[in-house]
């Protein structure tokens, strides 16, 4: 019997995946976790922080379960984005165009670009509001200078080097983890709401759910992840290390998000405080920082914006350049990829216009994430089809667990989208 099994092993055709899958030791895993933290950090942009804060303040712990549910989904989707780029050696927009044709690829990518630009506008407003908290100068006056500085930095400097430093600013949000503990929530209620789904049939609840899913499983990150793999030319041999890195980044991202939900739920929801301004959102940090909560919150929002806005602009440009077949990449000199950088510049210009036109920063931040939530399932489904194709992926095509988690993610997001459309259609938008 043993001889038969041994012969079966020898006779089995050699599989490319087996040759590249490596069991990593703990020290190798720790070393592998690094760049994914930047992606994870970029996931918690000012719009994300605002959305988690609004959800926590408006429904308390009721949507904690969605974060737990979305964590493996986010990890699997980001791993698929990285894998498809490493196997096919190209970015998502190009793959969508060459596989599904321009009729499918163009609307899919353009929806992502529109959502990105609106999110950039909302993030600019949030950064302006943070500057207002620090200086007292009205937020709207900060929008243009902030956008101009970031556009120049993105186009004319090495953003990858810079982002490693910006990550330290985003680390400020780790204080939410301490704030969550110091706010003394009812941990029994937190645990129950995290493992037992609670659903309330109201537009508020479902808008919050779509926004929360949209800011967690956010379309631009798929494009950013895939393009990052191309720029780094990592290849399939490093897939095991990449998966560890991605998992670490996404767990960190969702842990921070979870802490924001708990802190805002404990501090704001329990006191029936709704978030109308950035100062309201900053109050969730008071258990940790006391009178310095506002400063801490403002520094964190500015850091998150500095990290995320260039990522949003670049992801939009990767998408457009991939559709058009232009040279692209932040590693390229502006002269050698002019259209790519022009699109980045245009994204900043339109985002400025969006920011200046918006009347309420907090609402703009929240609804930009709802838009992401409405778009995300379409891109997740396309990504699943790409990565499950034996023709494109060969031995690296999705296995059953990845397919199950990926399709479950798409199903959850579609259900939330349908529910929010139904609720809003029958009961109207909440105030």
């Amino acid at each position: 019997m043993a001889e038969v099994q041994s012969r079966a092993r020898i006779d089995r055709p050699l599989n490319a995946r087996d040759l590249t899958t490596k069991k990593l030791s703990l020290s190798e895993k720790l070393r592998a976790a690094g760049p994914g933290l930047i992606t994870g950090g970029a996931d918690n942009d000012p719009a994300g922080i605002a959305t988690y804060s609004i959800v926590g303040a408006s429904v308390g712990f009721a949507q904690n379960w969605l974060l737990l549910l979305s964590t493996p989904m986010l990890i699997v989707i980001q791993q698929m984005s990285a894998k498809v780029a490493n196997v096919t050696k190209t970015d998502l927009a190009t793959l969508l165009r060459t596989t599904f044709g321009a009729r499918v690829a163009t609307p899919a990518v353009l929806l992502m670009v529109i959502a990105n630009v609106i999110t950039m506008g909302a993030d600019l407003l949030a950064m302006g509001a943070a500057c207002e908290l620090l200086t007292g100068v009205k937020f709207i006056y900060w929008v243009v200078p902030l956008a101009a500085v970031m556009a120049i930095v993105t186009i004319f400097t090495d953003y990858k080097v810079l982002s490693k430093y910006l990550l330290w600013l985003v680390a400020v949000f780790a204080t939410y983890i301490l704030a969550a503990f110091l706010s003394r929530p009812d941990w029994g209620a937190v645990l129950r709401s995290t493992v037992v789904p609670q659903i309330s049939f109201s537009p508020d609840y479902f808008l919050g759910a779509v926004g929360l899913l949209g800011t967690t499983i956010t379309p631009y990150l798929f494009f950013w992840q895939a393009s990052g793999e191309i720029e780094e030319r990592r290849g399939v041999q490093g897939i095991s290390r990449r998966n560890v890195d991605i998992s670490a980044g996404m767990v960190w991202s969702n842990l921070t998000a979870f802490s924001i939900l708990v802190a805002t739920g404990a501090v704001l929801y329990s006191h029936h405080t709704t978030i109308k301004t950035a100062a309201d959102a900053a109050r969730a940090l008071e258990p940790f920082a006391g009178p310095y909560a506002t400063v801490l919150f403002a520094v964190g929002v500015i850091g998150a914006g500095l990290l995320a806005i260039p990522v949003l602009a670049a992801s939009a440009s990767y998408g457009v350049a991939g559709l058009a077949g232009w040279r692209r990449g932040l590693g390229r000199h502006a002269k050698n990829a002019p259209q790519f950088y022009v699109v980045i510049g245009l994204a900043f210009l339109v985002a400025m216009e969006v920011a200046v036109s918006a009347v309420n920063p907090i609402k703009a931040l929240f609804y930009s994430q709802v838009l992401d939530g409405l778009i995300a399932p379409v891109l997740v489904i396309l990504l699943l089809v790409l990565t499950s194709s034996r023709k494109l992926m060969g031995d690296f095509a999705n296995g059953l667990p990845t397919k199950v988690i990926g399709w479950a993610a798409a199903a959850v997001m579609i259900l939330a989208d349908v529910a929010v459309v139904y609720q809003v259609a029958t009961k109207g938008l909440p105030g």
């Binding site: 050699l14 599989n15 490319a16 040759l19 590249t20 196997v87 096919t88 050696k89 190209t90 190009t94 060459t98 191309i230 030319r233 990592r234 290849g235 399939v236 041999q237 490093g238 077949g325 040279r327 990449g329 590693g331 390229r332 000199h333 002269k335 050698n336 034996r390 023709k391 494109l392 992926m393 060969g394 031995d395 690296f396």
Partner: protein, 194 residues
């Protein structure tokens, strides 16, 4: 012809001439955007990551020829050699690029081999007359796509390389040769790999 300089040397010399004339934004013919150059206060600053030590030495040696002939010195403190985490000889990948006709495909082949110094395991141009070879060269899933392209009068360049080279080759084919479309088939084990 005897005494004729290889195309890559000609292209590199032209690049150096452009750099010394102030055209520091020009991509290097072999290393492209992996190498960045600037001239400040008479010093030539070389920044980037090159594939091998030999590439770095070659670049520095050629740059050295221009010291006191256009530049005062070379600063290569930020010029690095790539740390290879991927091993070659494990997987290989076939890339397929479609071109308008055989002549254009031939130009692309010359660019890859003569200018970019590509060492491919296999490099073939197929047109309608060689359609019978398609099945031997590419995985089953891509056969009908290529046969359709050949039937429409296109020529395809089929390049088989080590998987560690495939990113670079795909980039060259898609961006530098302006192929109509470029596809990378999935990586497969190198024959005889155990």
């Amino acid at each position: 012809m005897k005494g004729e300089r290889p195309p890559d040397v000609v292209a590199i010399d032209a690049w150096w001439n452009a750099v010394l004339a102030g055209g520091v934004d020009e991509p290097h013919p072999v290393h492209g955007d992996d190498l960045r150059v600037s001239i400040r206060h008479g010093a030539l600053h070389l920044v980037g990551t090159l594939p091998t030590e030999a590439d770095k030495n070659e670049l520095l040696a050629r740059g050295g020829d221009f010291v006191a002939h256009g530049i005062d010195r070379i600063d290569a403190r930020h010029l690095k050699v790539a740390k290879l985490t991927e091993k070659s000889g494990i997987l290989e990948q076939t890339l397929i690029a479609g071109f308008r006709n055989r002549e254009v495909a031939e130009l692309a082949r010359q660019y890859l081999v003569d200018i970019r110094r590509l060492k491919a395991k296999q490099l073939e141009i197929l047109d309608r007359d060689q359609a019978s070879k398609v099945r031997r060269l590419v995985p089953e899933g891509f056969v009908s796509d290529i046969e359709q392209a050949l039937e429409a009068g296109e020529a395809v360049l089929i390049v088989r390389v080590d998987e560690t080279e495939a990113f670079k080759v795909r980039e060259m084919l898609a961006e530098d040769t302006r192929s109509r479309r470029t596809v990378a088939t999935p990586p497969v084990p190198v024959p005889g790999m155990r």
